[in-house]
């Protein structure tokens, strides 16, 4: 029972409460339970990276417990800060804040057809979760990643020994900077459950729904005006995951057969999250431009307009912060993911610059990649 409570606390309550911090800086209409949880995971993993990597690189003994104790304190403090912010906002708005809604998913307003489609999606996701618990997936890389988590849990040491044999080894920089297995170990220690069980059984139960949450948020952007299309989009996404095993290399295959590995999280959570952030930031910008034009035409009071503009800018800052966190999460997942998201952002910046005819786009997106530059720099220094 205490294990279940621990999992709920560290995998749901803490990330959710942490998520209340960054969502304070994003537009109210975007805030809902799912977005708060996503934002919480992103910020939590970014913080985890900042705390764990220095411990891996510079602390010789008991580096796991030292890093985990610091992380635990920071995570709880952030969670408390989130609750305080939520409480204060509620007080300020006399309880009118709608942070904890389900977004604009209104069951009572749906047609029977749409309800059936949502039900089909839940069945599809439920089936994937059921299979992730009842089916074992063999993957050779588990001998590395899962054992890294287990070594941290059992020996209180991060990346000090070769997982294949247990022999001491020099720091394997490429893997040591991607500290996702250490987060799995942290959860395992907190719940007092074997890291292999946590990797193979618990992680899919968290990471699969989390990825679908990202897809759902993307569907909301893509079909903002045609809500009835969202479940169809989601069902097709789900089918692609189930039947995407055309080779062992696709991100769909990784998603359901190696869910607990950082690289799978990079392919199915981080990369879609980049798309979501870009949609949020730039689609929002397009709408903002239209609103601004309308406002200018109406020529309302200058001060009121300036106030609105300031508020919008502040809300946009939250999205940029989240994008930075996504970049940092890529580093937590895998060192190659850092290169991949940087390439993606580079290409997207170029394409968005062309369509928006705004040369500032690459500069802005480039700035969000600063953590990636630090990561690569550290990688290069340590690799020498």
């Amino acid at each position: 029972m205490t294990q279940v409570i621990s999992f709920i606390f560290w995998l749901l309550v803490v990330p959710f409460c942490i998520g209340l911090v960054p969502v304070k800086c994003i537009a109210e209409k975007k805030r809902n339970l799912g977005v708060i949880l996503l934002a919480g995971y992103l910020l939590m993993w970014a913080v985890f990276e900042v705390i764990t990597i220095p411990a891996v690189v510079w602390i010789q003994y008991h580096n796991f417990s030292i890093a985990m104790n610091i992380f635990m304190v920071v995570a709880v403090l952030l969670a408390v800060a989130g609750i305080v912010l939520w409480y204060m906002e509620g007080k300020k708005n006399e309880g009118k804040t709608n942070w904890l809604g389900l977004g604009n998913l209104k069951w009572s307003e749906m047609s029977l057809e749409t309800k059936i489609e949502w039900f089909l999606l839940f069945a599809l996701v439920g089936f994937q979760l059921y299979m992730s618990v009842t089916r074992a997936s063999f993957d050779g890389d588990d001998a590395y990643y899962v054992v890294q988590s287990l070594m941290a849990q059992q020996n209180d040491a991060m990346y000090k020994n070769l997982p294949y044999t247990g022999r001491s080894a020099d720091l394997d920089v490429r893997h040591a900077l991607a500290v996702f297995p250490m987060w799995v170990a942290f959860v395992s220690v907190k719940a007092d459950l074997h890291a292999t069980i946590v990797s193979h059984v618990i992680m899919p139960l968290v990471l699969i729904p989390l990825s679908y949450l990202v897809y759902y948020e993307i569907s909301k952007v893509l079909f903002a005006d045609k809500r009835e299309n969202r479940p169809i989009f989601m069902i097709i996404m789900g089918l692609f995951q189930l039947f995407g095993n055309v080779s062992i290399y696709t991100n769909e295959t990784f998603f359901l057969t190696r869910t607990w590995q950082g690289k799978a999280v990079a392919g199915s959570f981080v990369i879609p999250m980049i798309f979501l952030m870009l949609f949020w930031i730039f689609d929002n910008d397009l709408k903002k431009e239209k609103i601004e034009e309308k406002e200018a035409a109406q020529a309302t009071g200058a001060e009121k307009k300036a106030q609105k503009e300031r508020k919008k800018q502040a809300q946009n800052i939250g999205l940029w912060i989240m994008l930075v966190c996504v970049n940092m999460t890529a580093g937590v997942c895998s060192s190659i993911a850092v290169f991949l998201v940087t390439i993606l952002l580079g290409i997207a910046a170029f394409c968005l610059m062309l369509v928006k005819r705004d040369w500032k786009v690459p500069v802005k997106l480039g700035l969000t990649c600063i953590p990636n530059a630090f990561y690569v720099l550290l990688y290069l220094i340590l690799s020498r």
Binding site: A136, A143, L150, G244, T257
Partner: protein
């Protein structure tokens, strides 16, 4: 440059399951083309049309591949660039856009197309019914449980079919070699691996010398593994056995 391009082509073919006659990528290409023609929203066009197209062009560009591989010092992971295509997302968006007026028919057609062109993930040979909560073979857990020390560490040499699993059960069990010996392209050499796995019949004298030089407390052998002379004549005792394995303990090291 042509050679590098061909390498990328092979990686691409392997990725999309070309040789297995899988055409899921064809669905993606169809909807990418559709979105090229029909997508009007600037941001959607940039992210779901231009980005995947540029990614595809870069993937096949020899100079890009050279730079990518040089930076990462790893050619094996180049296929992951194709993850940036987000095949499922672009296809799903294109499909919904195309069939928005006939959603039910669209969904049925897409379901049939994805099932016909794809490959059911749970049919993979790598997926089996879980035998325990660890999701490891039950017999591997049984062997690991038998030799897992209550405190400290032990060294155990195990047959190749257990190598992946033993340390997933307990990191207190060290091994003289691990997975690195099973990946042929990594090209490692290990004398005790040669003696244990490569020899047709294990030559007991030299094998025992090696297990002692590596400090192996336990030797796990398959029951049908041929060995010149029994280990019990060399200071080992039959510590335990499972359905398919014999576990020997080196009493000389235990002294």
């Amino acid at each position: 440059m042509w050679g590098i391009f061909l390498e990328s082509l092979v990686i691409f073919q392997n990725y999309v399951g070309y040789h297995q006659n899988k055409f899921l990528f064809g669905i993606f290409l169809f909807f990418l083309l559709y979105l090229w023609l029909k997508e009007k929203n600037k941001v959607c066009r940039a992210l779901f049309v231009y980005v995947p197209t540029v990614v595809l062009v870069l993937f096949f560009c020899p100079i890009f591949r050279k730079v990518f591989v040089a930076l990462l010092d790893d050619a094996e992971t180049y296929y992951r660039l194709l993850w940036l295509l987000q095949m499922s997302m672009v296809s799903a968006y294109g499909a919904v856009k195309l069939c928005s007026k006939h959603r039910k028919i669209g969904l049925v057609v897409m379901t049939i197309a994805v099932i016909a062109c794809g490959s059911y993930v749970y049919q993979s040979e790598h997926i089996t019914k879980a035998e325990n909560w660890y999701h490891l073979p039950e017999e591997a857990v049984e062997v690991a449980e038998l030799i897992d020390p209550e405190e400290g560490r032990v060294m155990a040499i195990v047959p190749s079919d257990l190598i992946y699993y033993i340390r997933q059960y307990s990191s207190r069990i060290n091994m003289p070699y691990g997975r690195e010996m099973l990946i042929a392209r990594w090209d490692y050499y290990n004398d005790i691996y040669e003696a244990m796995e490569e020899a047709e019949v294990i030559e007991t004298t030299s094998f025992v010398e090696l297990t002692r030089s590596y400090g192996c407390n336990y030797v796990v052998l398959k029951k049908d593994r041929e060995i010149e002379e029994p280990l019990t004549e060399y200071g080992f005792t039959l510590y335990a056995q499972t359905e398919n394995y014999l576990i020997y303990q080196d009493m000389e090291l235990s002294k």
